[in-house]
């Protein structure tokens, strides 16, 4: 039987204003976890009962460490940020389907927006071939060094122009004439929608990691649906169970 685990926090640092990286000693899942999957974090902060879905950012099988990177946006993530090294936190996972890495793909384009960047680190680590990473942030970029370390060419855009190009990922998309076998992306919905359009227009396959408010995280409550289509048939898929990664052409974007 699968189960939740109480895992030990071995690191919890603010890597950028309001953005934390947490390392969890989580040997039960490092073998099976895949890039693009997520975990449910149960913080049980005051009055809070639902788990927080957070993507896996890195997996270290040698050290049995799972790394997640999260933005403090509300009470759950605030509670997480206040936890100390040595504290234990309840976690369930890995959940969902990760990115699909086709064996034959050689040229990879990886696009992340803001807090969508973290899950792409493990992905890049596993990709083989040419990897171009495009990252957009409001201001302070994160994880640039990690992406470089794993052999990717990294392009950065910031909305305030403080680092890299001034603008967002869509601006880079417009300018560059990207060619690749596969696009992998995670970030705000408008960005993903633009990527989907770009991918279709340029005949490139794209995978998008979707976000939705969740309750169970395992496919039982039908809370986290994403409208998808198969040929002409429209169908509600579950972001937690059937996703969070979908092929962009599957997703019905009009909303």
């Amino acid at each position: 039987m699968k189960q939740t685990h109480k895992v030990k926090i071995v690191d919890n640092v603010e890597i950028s204003p309001g953005i934390y990286k947490i390392d969890l000693l989580f040997k039960e899942i490092v073998e099976s976890a895949k890039a693009g999957q997520f975990v449910n974090m149960y913080t049980n902060s005051s009055g809070s009962l639902l788990p927080r879905p957070i993507s896996i950012s890195q997996i270290n099988k040698e050290k049995n460490v799972l790394t997640i990177v999260y933005a403090v946006v509300g009470k759950g993530t605030k509670a997480l940020s206040e936890m100390k090294i040595g504290d234990e936190v309840k976690v369930l996972g890995p959940l969902g389907n990760g990115f699909n890495i086709p064996k034959e793909a050689e040229n990879h384009i990886v696009i992340g927006g803001g807090i969508g960047a973290p899950p792409l680190v493990e992905l890049v680590k596993q990709l083989k071939g040419n990897i171009e990473v495009y990252l957009g942030f409001r201001s302070n970029p994160i994880l640039i060094e990690e992406f470089k370390e794993y052999g990717a060419k990294v392009y950065v855009a910031t909305e305030d122009g403080s680092v890299g190009i001034k603008g967002n990922v869509r601006d880079i998309l417009k300018e560059k004439n990207l060619k690749a076998d596969m696009i992998y992306s995670c970030g705000p919905k408008p960005m993903l929608k633009a990527i989907a359009k770009y991918a279709t227009e340029n005949g490139i396959k794209a995978q998008v990691s979707m976000e939705e408010r969740m309750a169970c995280g395992i496919g039982a409550c039908v809370g986290c649906t994403c409208k998808t289509k198969k040929k002409e048939e429209v169908q509600n898929k579950k972001v937690c169970k059937d996703g969070p990664v979908f092929y962009s052409e599957e997703v019905v974007w009009n909303d």
Partner: protein
């Protein structure tokens, strides 16, 4: 630990223990089946099924609130045919009872589902006349005694399996509604469904739920649920399945003391995937501690 008798009987169907899953929180058992041994559950109550597939409401469908959550799933379901074909064979692999929660927008809808279930290998039907997320009809059925009686009577007539009627708490007088369901022929009652609620994202200045309002569940509603179970248990003679915020054995015992024959665990599964099993174990521990050999010895027995 001794082995207290926790079997319960709901309309001639014997459950090995009083703990079931609350409809809509447990799918058809497939997903949580990876976390809990379904053989251990008193019954699996499946997500509401309608006569044909429903899309449900737009997302976001989930909002967290203090001590609870709102959902506006809107009874998305694949329809009774697909349910019969795929989920019943899956569930029948396990030694547990199957309770099918049925949804509809009209009396005819409900009856049609019940008819399609006549040949299905299931144990009980739970008539959901109480979902606040379906504008077309549900809410009206559940809040008016005459309608409750009528729809119960109609479904009872065509249904083969014993009929549980699930009540909405969004009413002035739950006892009047409960009595109407019993008059209509309900073999048992489930209560409560969710309280109608709302949450607002003050930064976006929008309701969090795309549907604006949704159903409140979880520990926050437990006092209301317990009060209604208590009131109804003292007013009708059919078994009651109590639910609303049950997260552990102590909660379950409260409902049983208030008069519930069985209990269902809903929202708690989201916080703790093994909540159902924990509740069973903890009820037994309580019985052990107080030397209660038989659940009947405490059911409705407030001192």
């Amino acid at each position: 630990m001794t082995n207290p008798n926790i079997k319960v009987n709901i309309a001639e169907v014997e459950l090995k223990n009083p703990v079931m899953t609350a409809s809509g929180t447990f799918g058809s058992g497939r997903e949580y089946g990876e976390y809990v041994d379904l053989n251990k559950l008193g019954a699996v109550v499946v997500k509401g099924v309608a006569k044909e597939p429903w899309d449900g409401n737009p997302t976001p469908r989930i909002a967290e609130t203090y001590g609870g959550m709102l959902n506006s799933v809107g009874l998305q379901n694949p329809g009774v045919d697909e349910f019969i074909e795929k989920d019943i064979p899956f569930l029948r692999q396990f030694d547990t009872k199957i309770i099918v929660n049925i949804a509809g927008k009209s009396i005819e809808d409900y009856c049609e589902v019940a008819k399609k279930l006549i040949k299905a290998d299931i144990d009980l039907i739970e008539l959901n006349i109480s979902c606040p997320n379906v504008k077309a009809g549900g809410v009206n059925f559940g809040t008016d005694p005459a309608m409750v009686e009528e729809v119960t009577k109609a479904v009872k007539k065509v249904a083969k399996q014993p009929l549980i009627v699930k009540l909405t708490p969004n009413v002035t007088d739950i006892v009047a509604i409960a009595k109407a369901a019993v008059r209509g022929g309900a073999d048992a009652l489930s209560l409560i469904n969710t309280l109608l609620g709302m949450a607002i994202d003050i930064h976006k200045r929008k309701p969090i739920l795309a549907n604006t309002v949704g159903g409140l569940s979880g520990p926050a509603i437990k006092p209301v649920a317990l009060r209604m179970v208590y009131q109804v248990a003292n007013a009708v003679d059919v078994p009651i399945i109590g639910m609303g915020g049950i997260a552990n054995g102590e909660d379950a015992v409260e409902f049983i003391l208030a008069g519930a024959s069985a209990v269902a665990v809903g929202t708690a599964n989201f916080n703790n995937p093994t909540a159902t099993i924990d509740v069973i174990d903890e009820v037994k521990e309580y019985m052990d501690k107080y030397n209660v050999e038989n659940l009947d010895d405490i059911r409705g027995k407030l001192l």
